[in-house]
Subunit: 411 residues, 2 copies
């Protein structure tokens, strides 16, 4: 991609009402556009980051046998009334609207109930289970405050997954598989070391549920952490968990975190409320056991923008950067730069080529704000030396290399 | 994918309130689930078809220099008020809802106004133009009636594209490029021969706009067609168009069609209403010229389901089928069938392997309902002969082939 063909421009300032660092940087660098508080469009650079994150999550969910589908934003009142969750006092983030005939419908903030309702069409026998389904779905939540940029959206993308089982034991096994899959996701996103499986307030049949909390100054949560024992506890269950886990409060470090994921054991409660049953080999009807597992895709992008950035701009981890290379030409070397651009691209590298007629300082500043892992500079002086300049965004270090040396380093 | 791991089952009947053939078939075969009238979830088989259609459209839009982004469903009232289109009497398909502080917001039924508003942040000079942007965005339209299955959704996926230019002439050139790109899309979707560029009621500065109408019994439109001259006219402009194009009504054939796409020349009207200007090389401010181009992705899937189906079920064109091959094992040949499944998959073929312990007739019936292009059957008798049975879904013809012969035919 050529920067001259990218319609976005880097901006000096984010909108005055934007207080979150992640959104300020992402807006200034041209990744997102703020439609209103908590509602962001994803521009060409931004959608590539989102798709890269989704693809990592997709591969890990597929690897544990889950199947992708896509449910709907418009939701039926009667489905949610079965569990009492249509009520605005029970769920305080509903957006609701009306069909032409005045039928009230909701906008999906989660999909447990609609998925269970749908499965009633397909699940008859124990032979139909287990089932695991996931989706990347734009969720709508009518948040009172939305001041954390893309980390808390009124409209945001979530990977939500639901699994269905014949027994509590089978669910437990899958639940633990999901924990391991989530760890692989956070590792691949580059936030594995700072993300902790955290005890949180429990589900229908379990003392605790689990959250994945990532250490992040801009996060809205607080956890209590025992780094050596790898124990993390959400504030809301601290007293219970201390007793249960045999740690003392003094040993625990209080850290600010963002919730990067959560997993929840519903037991058979949801199926009982909604009548999702299966016939087991004893020929009797039993309610299905259900788990629910979320990862906020846009939130993950926000957390990464918060954590991987410096005073100059964003610093994308290689796995999710929109392009690997920012190519800068200096001086009258258009032809050689274009040739290099094509050569790099032909090796499979993704390249953003800053072909604008701008002074080097402006191009370097944009390279740093946009934050691709590698900057490659080509100039008359460098061509004379038979070298290219490679600059690492994370360390700021620079090397002069031949093309072959450079490709060996970054391909 | 193994059928035993697909949570959907083929169903004898679609819901009683489902009157559209496309949705009846897609529901029965396990591609979609009806949430409510005009609102459908896309199950594992269905989402693959959608993604295949999107990928074809994506490639053709990228090829004419358009860039993908994703705008938002929640929309600001003030943005739409600038053109008068917030008014429910002007646009009668709005869904509206409210933020916690009672601010009214709309759910996106189209994105001209938000895109123009966003571009005001980026467009300054003629050097910033042209710009072309597209998205695959779930649109919300509060349709009074939604009885055409996935061909008319209250919630549906659209590819909407918007282009911005310094002059009417430049816009005209791009507009015609889009027409050619759309023709390539419909060709690749398998409906090119039945899709006509149709004169329809005009934009701000043009006598006619253009629709792409696909001959389809279940369509909601009617066009007047001169097949030899390749002229197609929408009912609403028939009198004007006859005069303009020099054809007589007698020569025209009336056919039922579905609108598969539309393109629209806004001239500079939208930019004037909303204040999207650029400074040209004469140092003066001018409004930007704009075009708008849509393809209904879910509608295209519906049209294809209507057109490519028979009394036994769906008949997917190869380009968009969720899998190419439906593999059926008969009798006690699990091991050989699994080996064949892995061999086929390793050559890059996508295979749905019906590994269920079902009688052959039930498997064959499901194969026909689901409608993948090729059915491959393996059985003890066939193994003895060193052959496999290949059945073409579209012709119903069957051949006995060795594995190598078979791969040569379908790879």
């Amino acid at each position: 991609m050529r920067v001259s063909q990218l319609f976005t421009k880097t901006l000096k300032d984010a909108p005055a009402d934007e207080v979150a660092k992640n959104a300020q940087l992402l807006i200034r660098a041209g990744f997102v556009y703020k439609e209103m508080a908590g509602v962001y469009a994803y521009l060409p650079l931004g959608i590539k980051v989102l798709e890269n994150i989704k693809q990592i999550v997709r591969e890990e969910m597929d690897a544990i046998g889950s199947n992708e589908l896509i449910m709907t934003t418009l939701q039926r009142r009667d489905v949610w009334e079965k569990t009492g969750r249509w009520n605005d006092d029970v769920v305080d983030v509903w957006f609701k609207t009306k069909l032409k005939d005045d039928t009230e419908v909701g906008l999906g903030w989660s999909h447990e109930e609609p998925i269970v309702e749908m499965l009633k069409q397909y699940v008859r026998s124990y032979k139909d289970l287990p089932i695991s389904l996931y989706q990347f779905q734009p969720k709508m939540r009518n948040e009172l405050r939305a001041k954390s940029g893309i980390m808390r959206g009124r409209e945001f993308v979530m990977k939500d997954m639901y699994s269905f089982h014949t027994s509590a034991e089978e669910l437990e096994v899958y639940y633990n598989k999901v924990i391991e899959a989530y760890k692989r996701v956070y590792d691949r996103l580059g936030i594995g070391n700072d993300t902790y499986v955290t005890f949180a307030s429990g589900g229908a049949f379990t003392k605790f549920s689990h959250e994945f909390q990532t250490i992040c100054e801009a996060g809205e949560d607080v956890i209590y952490l025992h780094r050596e024992k790898n124990i993390a506890i959400n504030e809301e269950v601290i007293d219970d968990a201390i007793k249960e886990l045999g740690v003392s409060r003094d040993e625990l470090e209080m850290v600010k975190t963002a919730e990067s994921g959560n997993i929840f054991n519903f037991g058979a409660q949801k199926a009982e409320d909604m009548g999702l049953n299966f016939v087991s080999d004893d020929d009797k009807q039993h309610p299905v056991f259900m788990g629910s597992y979320g990862i906020g895709i846009t939130r993950a992008m926000g957390v990464i923008a918060e954590k991987f950035s410096d005073e100059k701009g964003l610093v994308w981890p290689e796995n999710i950067a929109p392009y690997k290379v920012y190519l800068v030409n200096i001086g009258n070397v258009d032809e050689q730069a274009t040739e290099l651009y094509e050569k790099l691209t032909s090796t499979g590298l993704t390249v953003l080529f800053d072909d604008r007629n701008e002074r080097p300082g402006a191009k370097f500043a944009d390279a740093e704000l946009i934050g691709l892992p590698y900057r490659i500079t080509i100039s008359e002086r460098l061509i004379e030396q038979g070298k290219l300049e490679l600059t690492y965004r994370n360390s700021g270090e620079t090397e002069l290399l031949t093309l072959d040396e450079l490709l060996a380093k970054i391909s």
